[in-house]
Symmetry: C2
Subunit: 261 residues, 2 copies
DNA sequence: ACGTCGATCTCGAAC
DNA sequence: GTTCGAGGTCGACGT
């Protein structure tokens, strides 16, 4: 913790005029302001909305983003993405008004409080790294690191091959007999859409190369009803879980570090 | 306010063991718990993620949803949708652990605090109505109320017509000359995807009716490059803003009320 | 239960 | 700057 920094300051049941001062000061310092109280909200922009009086929580972050949260629900009922400018004031009829405006697109939300239960000003420091594992691109990485995840003897030639209008191929390679293999990777259960997409890719490639090309979908499982479609289109399926790929990449990382020393 | 209800209770810089008690009590009462402190987060489920140590804000709502917010960014860095079950405890190495588990899909997040700056328990009541104006379905409503928004003499026949595998038509009707008109409504600028979708709908309908059918996209504007595609496919465009539709519906509402009295 | 579609989607990358 | 696609998308609605 930095010397002298007070991470959290709390103001309980402030008068509205006091709350205005605290909120303005927090916003001017570009730190986080958390307000709870009775309010109504108006939004005007890409759409427009009104939210009648009720008790809620408002979070204003240092990057100028705003969240209005009801007591239930994962999503904020009203919000503003980062980059807002703020006006905080007492209105003529004695409410506390916070207005957040952004440009491009031009939109604003106005929050009117007639009672504030709590204002918290938070000066937080967060440099911790966030890492999401086993995404679709990481599954591709894992296959390039360890091609046998697809099948024994598989050798990748290129990744993310551009087919022009048709789209991209996840992995393109040759099998143990030298036949081309087009691999379509999915992190989620494979549906008909993915199979048809692969089918379109194959059609595009077969036009160009004029020799046998295998098509393979790779993912954690097949949705039901997809197997017959695969057979009809003469495509193949290889089971591969994101977790397995994560393991492969983790081992590779360890290997690289031990080679380095 | 309900007699005796204390909307907000604040605990500043509690010892972790005290924080455990307060959080458990809040969760058991199914009210909102807000925690700020130094923490790390692990997620395991559809994907997996790790978030290293840093100072953040955690919101746990009465419906069992969880949000982990960094000091910047509109979106939570980690979260859990509603319906979670919770375990709150001190770990062997003296951290405060909050674990939120949900089933279908099976996933969990674990939040480990080594310092808690603030625990706030909020017993909020929020019955205020939320109204969003000028959605896509409201644009359809407006067209049914006032068909001339599409063009003079247009008469709607049906809405949300099912085309089986192809999808749905927003509005289907006849023009002043009795020709069929298929209307595709968009609240946002119209891109190629919407035009191609309309084109597929038309193809499907023309097979069935075997007489002239006009296709029209209706929305606030055309994305650039879409005009040539419209011309090539012999489709039409009619400008209509969500705001205009909102106005039409508002006037209709006023009219209905005045007819009632 | 599963699948499709819209969203004040948000966010990031590519062009 | 705009456009395009992915997301632990979420949430609503229909089957």
């Amino acid at each position: 913790m930095l010397s002298g920094r007070v991470p959290v300051s709390v103001y309980e049941n402030p008068r509205l005029v006091e709350a205005v001062g605290v909120i303005r000061e927090g916003l001017s310092k570009h730190i986080t302001v958390f307000v709870s109280g009775r309010c109504r909200v108006e939004y005007e922009g890409r759409a427009s909305s009104t939210l009648d009086w009720g008790e809620r929580m408002i979070m204003i972050k240092s990057d100028g983003s705003v969240l209005v949260h009801r007591p239930v629900g994962y999503e904020p009922v009203n919000w503003q993405p980062s980059g807002c400018l703020f006006q905080t004031e007492l209105t003529g009829d004695g409410n506390l008004k916070i207005k957040a405006i952004r440009h491009r697109p031009r939109e604003s939300i106005s929050i009117f409080f007639d009672k504030v239960y709590l204002v918290t000003v938070l000066d937080l420091i967060d440099t911790g790294e966030f890492a999401l594992h086993a995404s679709e691109s990481q599954m591709r990485e894992a296959i390039l690191v360890k091609p046998s995840l697809v099948e024994k003897g598989f050798r990748p030639i290129s990744r993310e091959k551009d087919l022009g209008e048709t789209g991209f191929i996840d992995v393109f390679g040759v099998d143990v007999e030298g036949k081309f293999v087009v691999v379509e990777i999915k992190r989620n259960p494979i549906g008909k859409d993915a199979v048809l997409q692969l089918s379109r890719y194959l059609e595009s490639i077969r036009k160009k190369v004029n020799r046998p090309v295998r098509g393979m979908v790779v993912g954690p499982e097949l949705r039901k009803g997809v197997q017959p479609l695969l057979e009809r289109l003469r495509l193949e399926y290889r089971s591969l879980s994101p977790q397995k790929c994560f393991e492969v990449l983790r081992r590779e990382k360890v290997k690289k570090i031990s080679e380095f020393f």
